[in-house]
């Protein structure tokens, strides 16, 4: 909320309306804080959007633990860890880019945004590799789900301990199918959000290079940054839940 104590007749006083201030806002502060509130509410909807998948995960983990005990052997923890570190680093560069925009270091901000894009690309490449690896072994839970039995035996058989012995293979295939359904659901939706993030960062990068932002008007960079941090935050929870199951 803004309140003009020095309210002059036409409400805007000496400084004419700067180009970057929308006509229906009174001051830069009102525009920035409205934008900040708006993006935070949007992030709230994103959190609830993912809550559906986390709920499906929780229901299956609570009711069918065997699904996760069998399924998680199919994932490679090192790749997951690399992706986590890549995303955390991209969060750092994004936060730093917002900082540079606030202090008018336009070139530094552009470089940092480019690095963030690079990290996002790396993340997708690693993800793509994982998906291809699954696809190669027929581990995509489509209508005719025909996993490569020998590969399953090699990944899950090797970790057979007391709890999973004597389970018939059909049950194991069902478990793997449900796990992969949840795995592709969560990481797929997250990957889509990474792609949307890339598009947003490219848009902000273009405007930074064009010099739209200054000390008083850095809203878009900050808000895309917040969206990107949320994407990273969701991955921070996805990584242990999917990759680090015991």
């Amino acid at each position: 909320m803004t309140e003009h104590t020095a309210c002059t007749t036409d409400g805007h006083g000496a400084n004419a309306h700067p180009a970057w201030l929308a006509h229906h806002f009174h001051s830069a502060r009102q525009q920035y804080e409205s934008g900040k509130l708006g993006i935070w509410i949007f992030l709230l909807t994103e959190v609830l959007f993912f809550s559906g998948l986390f709920c499906a995960y929780a229901v299956y983990r609570a009711n069918h633990p065997a699904v996760f005990v069998d399924g998680h052997h199919l994932l490679s923890t090192p790749l997951g860890a690399i992706n986590t570190i890549v995303l955390i680093f991209s969060s750092l560069t994004m936060a730093w880019a917002v900082r540079c925009t606030q202090v008018d270091q336009r070139k530094a901000a552009a470089v940092l945004l480019a690095v963030t894009l690079l990290c996002a690309g790396t993340f997708l490449v690693v993800k793509g590799f994982e998906y291809h690896h699954k696809w190669k072994h027929g581990l995509v839970p489509a209508h005719e789900f025909a996993p490569d039995e020998q590969y399953l035996e090699s990944r899950i058989g090797a970790h057979e301990d007391g709890s999973t012995l004597g389970r018939d293979p059909a049950q194991r295939v069902r478990n793997v199918r449900t796990f992969l359904g949840i795995y592709f659901g969560m990481t797929g939706l997250h990957a889509l959000h990474v792609v949307a993030g890339i598009i947003a960062i490219v848009w902000v990068l273009r405007r930074t290079v064009r010099g739209d932002f200054n000390r008083q008007y850095f809203g878009p960079v900050d808000f895309v940054g917040l969206y990107w941090h949320l994407v990273d935050l969701i991955w921070i929870y996805l990584f242990p839940l999917l990759y680090l199951i015991h």
Binding site: M1, A56, A142, R177
Partner: protein, 557 residues
């Protein structure tokens, strides 16, 4: 205020600069950022959606008038009641008040030039049109027959067009989320200096509470519909029992959105009723804080009660008992509101104009609709009447009878401000009385049939007549009432459209309301106010006097 002289010759209003004449051409409408134009376009589209929904309803009523197969086969009947439900909920009643009247009136009520994010507002409109196209496509390729609830496993195995309809609802969900984000930001950040939370009109409070629900509940619907579409395309098995899934899990996901959604429908309606009853009783609203906080209370408690839709669905008795108890808590704020409205009318001067008639009609129909919710909240009674015609009657009384009637009342209340024209008030009042009769004729028989043994979504009740021969008469009464009701809605719409051509030019403040939107011209200029007018108590009608010449109210200096 004396009866409005309806017969005054409709002098064409001077071509003053208002939001309608500010810019010309189709492009200026399709890509406008002005919240007023977006509100008007939403209003027009929502009318089209309502007409489509009513058409489906008439087919259903015509079919049910006779026990056997009357005009449509079983498959077509199943598709018609599904489309009736889906179109009426996703296309009409969820966006109805917030997107049309809310978009138009909220910024002016706050003295602002526009909502916080005009482009987001336009995106909401475009998404609504895009979602509507999906539904029209589904309609033309043959519709779907799953019921508007899309319950799995039927929705995943039927070969009717489920995915376009599901994607249509998915897109309309985002249109609703964008409206919610806009209203929360506008209410927080765009209030004029001096307008604290308790100097805001109650319609803004109810839109704020509705926005909370839109923003918190709709994303869960989005993920549910996405999972359903993925389930149909790829067969992942989350809801399919053969692959380890659980159909009742889908019902939990679906009703976590769909119960708060019924409060998205009713809260804005209650906001309109608070405004209308206070203005036409010429008295300050009674218990402002209680009405305002009961809106927010309904919004928040509304998230705890979704299980009462699933008492007989195999839900565990423990969860059923918890949901039943919480359902009774959510009934209390609605009661508080109704009693406060009645207290507002005490010692006032009640002007029975059309909006007031619809507000009183709301009180009667919401009385019946809200109270029959108690039957459905109590588990013992719910088990007998769940999924029967009783439930159909209950939600028509609450959705159509309360939210729909308040929407019509709201349109009639703000029509002079939106179009700058006065309508024929007598026609409006007569229609209100006819709606009272026709509405009860249509839906009260369903209460009786539901309790005596008529399940929901039944195409053919021939064999039920052996035990309950009165079903035939009750269905005939309901069908006749249905057609009478549809005809009255047509007259109500015609009355408004006719006023566009022949209506008297409307003064700035025809009803003598004290909220800010009546202090600018009707129709309002492009920028609403040069600078926000001084903030006064929105329900203090002290210094407003009726002025014969303009037929409206002016504030004494």
């Amino acid at each position: 205020m004396a009866a409005i002289p309806d017969s005054a010759p409709a002098a064409r209003p001077a071509a003053a600069d208002n939001y309608l004449t500010h810019a010309r051409g189709l492009m200026s409408w399709i890509f406008t950022l002005d919240h007023k134009r977006i509100g008007v376009m939403f209003l027009a589209l929502i009318w089209v959606a309502m007409a489509l929904g009513v058409l489906f309803a008439l087919i259903l009523r015509a079919e049910l008038a006779d026990p056997g197969e009357t005009i449509v086969s079983k498959n077509v009947y199943n598709r018609v009641f599904t489309l009736h439900g889906a179109v009426m909920i996703f296309l009409f009643i969820i966006p109805s008040i917030p997107s049309s009247l809310g978009n138009f009136v909220l910024p002016i009520m706050l003295g602002a030039k526009d909502v916080a994010f005009p482009r987001l507002n336009l995106a909401s409109l475009h998404l609504y049109v895009f979602g509507m196209l999906f539904f029209l496509f589904t309609l033309f390729v043959g519709g779907l027959d799953t019921g508007w609830t899309f319950y799995t496993p039927y929705s995943t195995e039927t070969n009717t067009w489920v995915i376009p309809a599901v994607l249509g609802a998915f897109i309309l969900g985002f249109s609703s989320i964008f409206t919610g984000i806009n209203f929360i930001a506008t209410t927080h950040m765009m209030r004029p200096p001096g307008m604290s939370w308790f100097k805001m009109p109650l319609f803004v409070w109810s839109l704020y509470a509705t926005a909370i629900i839109q923003v918190l509940a709709t994303p869960v619907l989005a993920i549910t519909l996405l999972l359903l579409a993925v389930e149909r395309l790829v067969g992942v098995g989350i809801f399919d029992p053969d692959k380890g899934g659980d159909p009742v899990l889908f019902q939990h996901f679906f009703w976590f959105y769909s119960h708060p959604a019924v409060y998205i429908m009713i809260l804005p309606a209650m906001g309109i009723i608070s405004e209308v009853i206070s203005v036409f009783s010429r008295k300050h609203i009674f218990g402002f804080k209680f009405i305002a906080f009961s809106s927010v209370a309904i919004a928040l408690i509304g998230f705890l009660v979704w299980g009462h839709h699933m008492f007989t669905s195999g839900q565990s008795p423990l969860a059923s008992t918890i949901f039943s108890l919480l359902t009774f808590f959510v009934a209390i704020p609605s009661g508080i509101k109704v009693f406060n409205w009645l207290a507002t009318m005490y010692k006032g001067v009640v002007h029975l104009t059309t909006p007031m008639c619809f507000a009183l009609l709301f009180l009667i129909l919401f009385g019946i609709g809200g109270l029959t919710g108690l039957f459905l909240g109590a588990v013992a009674a719910n088990v007998h009447v769940h999924d029967t015609a009783f439930v159909v009657a209950h939600f028509h009384y609450v959705m159509f009878g309360s939210a729909g009637i308040a929407f019509i009342g709201g349109i009639y209340y703000w029509w002079p401000k939106i179009t700058g024209r006065m309508y024929n008030d007598l026609v409006g009042r007569i229609c209100a009385v006819v709606v009272l009769i026709a509405f009860n004729m249509t839906y009260f028989p369903l209460f009786i049939m539901g309790v005596r043994g008529m399940p929901r979504r039944y195409h053919d009740y021939e064999r039920l007549l052996e035990k309950n021969p009165e079903f035939f008469d009750l269905n005939v009464i309901a069908s006749v009432g249905g057609f009478l009701l549809a005809g009255t809605l047509l007259v109500l719409a015609a009355n408004l459209l006719f006023s566009l051509v022949r209506g008297r030019p409307a003064p700035a403040n025809p009803w003598g309301a004290a909220t800010m939107e009546w202090q600018c011209a009707s129709p309002p200029p492009h920028d609403n106010f040069a600078s926000p007018p001084p903030v006064t108590d929105p329900y203090d009608f002290g210094n407003l006097t009726y002025d014969e010449t303009t037929g409206g109210y002016v504030s004494a200096p």
